[in-house]
């Protein structure tokens, strides 16, 4: 029977086969994880379709293929065997059953099915006072590799005082070496590529959030009691941004060669910081026309699931515009990096009470208002400063002048 690249999301057209869990010649039972597929940063384990023997691998690890591509052949139980093809000389036999029997003896765990701990891993665990369960294994079947322990240590380094050395040599006194985790490395590559692709321009507006602040003050407690999570400024900003996008659709687009692909709907990406596990931007699909309450629930759902490593492939695909929220850190302004292949990203930063000038018929007065900066990085291939500025002005206008009191109905 053929093994094909599955479709892991409605809009997913291709997948990258990251890991084969079995080798040609190996026995597979139903439910055994056969391979892993990565789509937009989500890794999915795919079980075997039927019990049998994996007879051939056609797509190698690291290859990206279109959904439906035949990636392997399974000799399912009860099937007639195909005519054997001329095979190249294979020097080492496929991993024989006796290797599986050796594993439990080697593993430091009581669970016989857990992948074994290699000698260097056992040494490092002992040296650093770690248990195997403390460390996430990135190897086959969750096997802990040397790099996993090194990454774990790097992520938990105490920078002040004693320097941790990861490679066994006494560290130079003037520095601490912090190896990149896989996620960090991927993020780094993505960021470099984004900057290399899009000519970034930053524009910002200062926004008066007093109307939204008033709604939060009035209805925040009820909301929290009812919904189980706090109502932040973010869903309101998202709502305003989505409405502004409908008037300025070119910020919700992608560059394709010499053309701008303007998306009809909005896939609103919400950037979530996972700490040492990096950044991820799950997407609220069909964000246009959603209410503030709906957006609030969606944001909460996605960020919780992101933190619990429970995002699906659909969750991280289909983004057309991204919101990046640094507000809790109290920063003034951020110049975010565009989430390719989008053309713009909006950053919201700290909202602080500030004295501002308010005009009225009676003259100018100074009032205390909650003020925050909204900054958009845009791809200057797609749009110009004037267009972006008008978009930002509209977002500011919506936030400052809309009647948000009925927003949570």
């Amino acid at each position: 029977m053929d093994i094909v690249m599955p479709q892991l999301g409605e809009t997913v057209a291709e997948g990258t086969l990251t890991v084969w869990h079995k080798k040609p010649g190996e026995r597979i039972e139903s439910g055994d994880v056969l391979f892993e597929v990565e789509t937009d940063k989500v890794d999915t384990e795919v079980p075997a379709p039927a019990p049998g023997v994996l007879s051939e691998i056609l797509v190698e690890e690291g290859e990206t293929v279109v959904v439906g591509t035949k990636i392997g052949i399974l000799q399912a139980d009860g099937e007639d065997a195909p005519a054997p093809a001329a095979e190249a000389v294979v020097e080492t036999p496929a991993r024989a059953p006796e290797k599986a029997e050796n594993s439990p003896a080697m593993a430091g765990k009581a669970d016989a099915a857990a992948p074994p701990l290699s000698p260097v891993v056992r040494k490092l665990l002992a040296e650093h006072g770690l248990k195997p369960s403390d460390v996430t294994g990135s190897g086959l079947g969750g096997r802990i590799k040397k790099q996993d322990i090194e990454a774990h240590i790097a992520a938990h380094i105490a920078v002040m005082g004693d320097a941790y050395s990861v490679d066994g040599e006494p560290p130079a006194a003037d520095r601490v070496i912090v190896p990149f985790t896989k996620i960090r490395k991927r993020t780094a590559d993505h960021m470099v590529a984004s900057k290399a692709t899009s000519p970034h321009v930053l524009q910002a507006v200062e926004v008066d959030f007093h109307r939204i602040a008033a709604v939060r003050a009035a209805k925040g407690a009820d909301w929290k009691a009812r919904e189980g999570f706090s109502l932040t400024f973010l869903p309101f900003i998202a709502h305003a941004a989505c409405r502004a996008i409908q008037e300025f659709p070119h910020v919700n687009a992608s560059v394709d060669g010499d053309a701008l692909v303007v998306w009809r709907d909005i896939g609103l990406g919400i950037a979530v910081d996972l700490g040492p596990d990096g950044l991820v931007a799950p997407v609220i699909r069909r964000a246009a026309g959603r209410s503030v309450a709906d957006l609030a629930r969606a944001i909460n759902d996605l960020s919780s699931r992101a933190r619990n490593n429970a995002l699906t492939a659909d969750d991280v695909s289909g983004g057309t515009y991204t919101l990046s929220n640094s507000g809790s850190f109290g920063t003034l302004i951020t110049a975010p990096i565009i989430n390719q292949p989008q053309v713009a990203i909006l950053s919201t930063d700290g909202i602080f009470k500030k004295p501002v000038v308010v005009e009225s018929d009676a003259g100018d007065s100074i009032v205390i208002r909650p003020i925050g900066v909204l900054a958009q990085s845009f791809d200057h291939r797609a749009i110009d400063g004037a267009y972006s500025a008008r978009f930002l002005k509209r977002v500011k206008q919506l936030i400052e002048t809309d009647d948000w009191s009925g927003a949570l109905a």
């Binding site: 080798k23 690291g62 190249a88 000389v89 020097e91 080492t92 290699s118 000698p119 260097v120």
Partner: protein
């Protein structure tokens, strides 16, 4: 510096040593007038004359006996055994006589000689003219064993072998004879017992010898560019004396060892290195030691079959990739 072929580097190395030391003499079958069946000794007869450069009958035992007798009595002979497979014909001289006479005679007899021979497959010469037998030599105490992979190493290591007071078996690789490389012009002496790290990576240490070295380097490049696996590649160069320090240092850094050996599987040279690593680097290993070798079969003649048998770049890439986990 000059760009020389591997075969020209042989002649250059011999010539360099014969100019330097009158005690160096050279003998073998068809080495003088014909310049060697592989054309590796062209020009030596012209420069040094028929007294110092001698064509012999087809008499491997007499060739090595002559070299040994001469070495014991003050000369520094270089003897050629045309194909390393023929060492089996005179193996008594190598293993029983040359290797052991210093030890058995409590140091009274010495054998400062070099036996150079064309080793290895890939030339479609069939099973009796294609073997890699450096592991046979490694297994006998008392002989030094060298197998260069580049023209520069040929000249430098041959010079070191000639100057070495111990007997050296110098395995040239016949399918490398046409390869080219930069070779220093003037007095060029390398060092026996020193491996070379050709590239450094983080994920795996690949240890190779002779013709397997360029294949391992090519495989490492593919592993890096297409599979995100970065490999260290070490050219062992000298099996005896063995540069274990370099090998162990690099294996500790990556936590993994793969050997690439042309000899047939059983008791190939990599088995010894695997054993040393398993013993002395056990607690630094992040995965099993893997040996990539020719299978334990005689080498077939047909080109497609021979290529399947010898470790290819593809097989090296695939084996490393699939065993990396």
């Amino acid at each position: 510096m000059a760009e020389l072929t591997y075969r020209d580097a042989v002649a250059a190395g011999i010539a360099q040593e014969m100019r330097r030391d009158d005690r160096v003499v050279f003998l073998g079958e068809d080495v003088a007038a014909a310049g060697g069946v592989f054309k590796a000794t062209v020009g030596l007869l012209d420069e040094f004359g028929p007294v110092r450069v001698r064509d012999t009958p087809i008499s491997e035992q007499a060739i090595l006996g002559a070299a040994m007798g001469a070495a014991m009595t003050g000369l520094r002979p270089i003897a050629e055994i045309m194909f390393s497979d023929f060492l089996a014909v005179c193996w008594d001289l190598v293993a029983n006589e040359i290797a052991k006479s210093r030890y058995m005679t409590n140091g009274q007899l010495e054998c400062p000689l070099v036996i150079r021979t064309a080793n290895g497959g890939g030339s479609r010469f069939g099973a009796q003219h294609s073997q890699s037998v450096e592991n046979w030599a490694m297994a006998v105490p008392g002989i030094k064993v060298v197998a260069p992979s580049t023209a520069a190493d040929v000249k430098g290591l041959l010079a070191a072998a000639v100057r070495d007071p111990d007997p050296v078996l110098f395995f040239e690789h016949k399918s490398l004879y046409a390869t080219k490389g930069e070779v220093p012009d003037d007095d060029h002496v390398d060092e026996l017992g020193k491996a070379k790290v050709l590239r450094r990576g983080d994920d795996v240490t690949i240890v190779a010898l002779a013709a397997m070295v360029p294949r391992s380097v090519a495989a490492a490049e593919i592993l890096a560019s297409e599979h995100g696996i970065s490999a260290t590649v070490i050219d062992v160069r000298s099996l005896v004396p063995l540069d274990t320090r370099t090998i162990l240092t690099e294996v500790v850094k990556t936590g993994r060892l793969v050997t690439v050996e042309e000899n047939p599987r059983l008791c190939g040279w990599g088995a010894e290195i695997a054993s040393i690593v398993a013993d002395e680097c056990f607690y630094d290993l992040d995965g099993p030691v893997v040996r990539i070798t020719t299978p334990h079969i005689p080498l077939p003649s047909a080109d497609h079959l021979e290529d399947l048998a010898m470790p290819s770049v593809t097989r090296i890439v695939e084996t490393v990739r699939t065993r990396m986990d």
